[in-house]
Subunit: 205 residues, 2 copies
Amino acid sequence: MNDTKPSAPIVAAVALFTIRDKLEFLRLEGEQGRIPSLPVEEDETLEACARRALWEAAGIEEVFLEQLYTFDGGPGGPRVIVAYYALAPHDRLHIRRAGVSWADPTPAPIVVEEHRVIVERACERLAGKLEYAPIAYQFLADRFTLGELQTVYEIIGRQALDKRNFRRRIRASWDLVETHDARREGPHRPARLYRLRDARPPLEG
Amino acid sequence: MNDTKPSAPIVAAVALFTIRDKLEFLRLEGEQGRIPSLPVEEDETLEACARRALWEAAGIEEVFLEQLYTFDGGPGGPRVIVAYYALAPHDRLHIRRAGVSWADPTPAPIVVEEHRVIVERACERLAGKLEYAPIAYQFLADRFTLGELQTVYEIIGRQALDKRNFRRRIRASWDLVETHDARREGPHRPARLYRLRDARPPLEG
DNA sequence: ACAAAAGTGTTCCTGTTACACCCATGT
DNA sequence: ACATGGGTGTAACAGGAACACTTTTGT
């Protein structure tokens, strides 16, 4: 994975997020810190290139991936950077290279300027889309508990939520299917598992 | 203005909208119909290129301009198309070339496929951002009447609105300044002129 | 027994909708 | 005088926020 060959005109960059305990993004360690990015090949779509960058860095396919913004490249760098963000549950990710790690996006850590902007902007987009797009579910397995879901909302939205209001609201705006089994894990009542049946049509792309 | 030199790798394209009576976009007539677009020059930003395309087609500067999406170019066309949308009151526009005209975006008129997608998507974005970003004001002069503003909302949102509710809502969500003069035009009571003081902070870019 | 998360309803408040009449002007 | 758009308030309704206790389990 090499970013920014000086000759590469178009580069796709991806901020990959996951939730373990807090929101984290995939950071390539080096002198400065970067996010996965690759020059777009001759007969490759932008999205395919972004997925390739993701595959090479984290060994993951079939993630939720969405375009974020296109930036002008700096002098001596690529001509433009087409930025994407990706979301995945952390247990589907398999880091396959040294020098790749998870970092907290909010104190804006040591990452080259152009990539820091991408990470920050992706965080904002995430919080903004939380209510009307099926963002939160991308961090969870196919079946999940309402407790897990609430935690995701709280982490991305950065605020604690009332359990009863959350459940009412979520069941009103998404089509959740109550499965018939539950997850038992810990000294407390087992939690029912749900699946998301259908995303309500979002307003814009 | 030449679009799609086969060798041009990166092209900026702009869907320029205005409101006369309905929502219209700037269309370059030709065999097929296009929107303004230009290859990005060596040391030019994407946005600057978009503005240049706008200037050459409609003789307008200092418009509201926002990035929309970046598309893969087709085979034989540009490598990528960075799409923008622009908004302006129609009296600030000065068409300076033959073969440039206004067209209705909603019946999806005769425009090359890649550009049609841009126009459609821009319309959706417009409707989506209407409530939380100062979109509507970009179609009006500095000072405007609430009637004019309501008309803009109705056109972009594609639905009639109640006058009293509209006024209450708009005054609650935007900081409108009531100027001390009015506009008299027609056989009816003159309408008070307002200005927009400050945009409320929107949630995302 | 107890600690720990799951699960469940009601009240209040706020913001949205529906709705009808008088005002100021030009012709 | 009349036609035209400008301007205003109130009552019903719906969606969001605040709030506390019982249930089921593992140790």
